[in-house]
Symmetry: C2
Subunit: 281 residues, 2 copies
């Protein structure tokens, strides 16, 4: 049995940076440290941080003192103001690429564009982006939602950083027929597109594809969707425990990829377990 890891997989720059900021905060403060929501969409990492005294809260109101870490997905700027107004310590771990997308939304507001945000309506990154448009933007998840959109004027598009290029393209195909004046900021981050391309490539070459990462992670789920299209034997798992021996029957070549919020040690445990199972059979 052969195991291949996708050329681009696992932690991206924004996640690495956020975890580094969280570590620095725990090392330099004796007061409680909180993240507003899970710092990244990986339950195992969040659990490990809890062991170091970093706890996720769902609102600034829950915190009396200490530090609040803004997670990679970013937030409504009003929340950042509130953290400061409450005299709490702020660590802004918003991914720089998300911050750039937020800035693009703010610029489009200033220039008077109608704004379309392509992404998942309830994802924290999109909720944050929407706040930069004073909640006046239209969120679009897929091209078919545009069928009933009325002809619109000058329109600016910003994209959730973890969207697939294919979805952006199919939405633009429809928008082009709705407005004559379209500004598109392709804010899909390179880490996302590299991981998606590498996953698409590898999933076509293997008998079985494992996508490792949080079930609540948008970018990992998207990787699984992309692999599934190419290879029906695709499984999205969070940890090695979920591997079912039966999956491996008759399998020669296994491909592995991991979301941008999946740590290397979880991927390594998946590889170890696969090698153990291969040795047993």
């Amino acid at each position: 049995m052969r195991i291949s890891l996708a050329k681009h997989a696992g932690y991206c720059y924004g996640v690495q940076r956020a975890l580094k900021l969280a570590r620095e905060a725990t090392n330099s403060s004796t007061k409680p440290i909180h993240t507003l929501g899970p710092i990244i969409h990986n339950p195992q990492v969040v659990e490990s941080l809890q062991g170091q005294g970093v706890n996720a809260v769902s609102s600034v109101d829950e915190v009396d003192s200490g530090t609040i870490i803004i997670r990679t997905h970013g937030v409504d700027p009003k929340i950042i103001k509130k953290v400061k107004d409450c005299g709490l310590e702020l660590v802004d771990a918003t991914c720089p690429f998300v911050a750039k997308a937020q800035q693009r939304v703010a610029d489009l507001v200033k220039e008077g564009y109608n704004i379309i945000i392509i992404g998942e309506r309830n994802h924290p990154e999109v909720v944050g982006l929407l706040a930069y448009a004073n909640n006046q933007a239209t969120v679009v998840e897929s091209a078919k939602e545009l069928d009933n959109l009325e002809i619109i004027g000058r329109t600016g598009v910003v994209v959730q950083t973890t969207q697939s290029l294919a979805n952006l393209e199919s939405i633009l195909d429809v928008l082009l027929t709705k407005t004559k004046d379209l500004k598109v900021f392709n804010t899909i981050c390179n880490a996302t597109s590299q991981r998606q391309e590498a996953a698409a490539e590898l999933s076509q070459q293997v008998d079985l594809m494992l996508v490792v990462g949080g079930k609540n992670s948008a970018n990992t789920t998207r990787l699984a969707q992309i692999c599934q299209k190419n290879n029906q034997e695709t499984y999205h798992i969070e940890t090695d425990d979920e591997i079912d021996e039966l999956w491996l029957a008759g399998i020669e070549h296994i491909g592995i990829t991991a979301g941008a919020s999946t740590p290397d040690w979880i991927v390594q445990k998946v590889i170890d377990r696969l090698e153990m199972l291969a040795g047993e059979s």
Copy 2:
């Protein structure tokens, strides 16, 4: 035998307006009237205008006195200045939708965008658009030309008014991977897209499709290409003389469309000839 005419076919607003301006010029002036190049891309109409004393010239230098009509495709603004400087009468029959595209190019120049013009490199409309970018824009005919394009900065796109939406879409799919900041003016005119959609629809329903219009007409040629994809029995003809009786053998249903520069009387002659041939058989 049944004959169906496409729901949208024949003269568009810009062509009607240009011919009206030419008629008015011939009626109101006793001096010679010239068009700079053929006023529209239909040889039969150009010939008919010659009969009324309107002759096409290829350069302002060829004209000593009288009127110069700028045709629907528009020109380099330097040429308009030259006509005025030479003391000639100017009739600007540039299609208003082309004029709008020219203005979009000029705006993008002012805003400091890299400019891409999607269209046919040697078509007079594209040559005119390029002049509004001081010949500093990149002309792109198809997506495959972008393969070797280096990563570029802020990029603005303007489209030849008679391009197909499908070509614009496939070029944008590639541009999205080349730049993060893309402004798209979909300057394809409604007449073009309506004629293309109606032609695509009708060509799928008939046994034989006739596309009537100038062989030198970009929009008519594009209609023929679109029909050809759906129906191998597609013929691009300029006049009824070109209809080959053999085409009609075993044909039950004939579809007809006509380019934006094709006059009704030419289409009517095609229908008359088809009905005559059907009566004979």
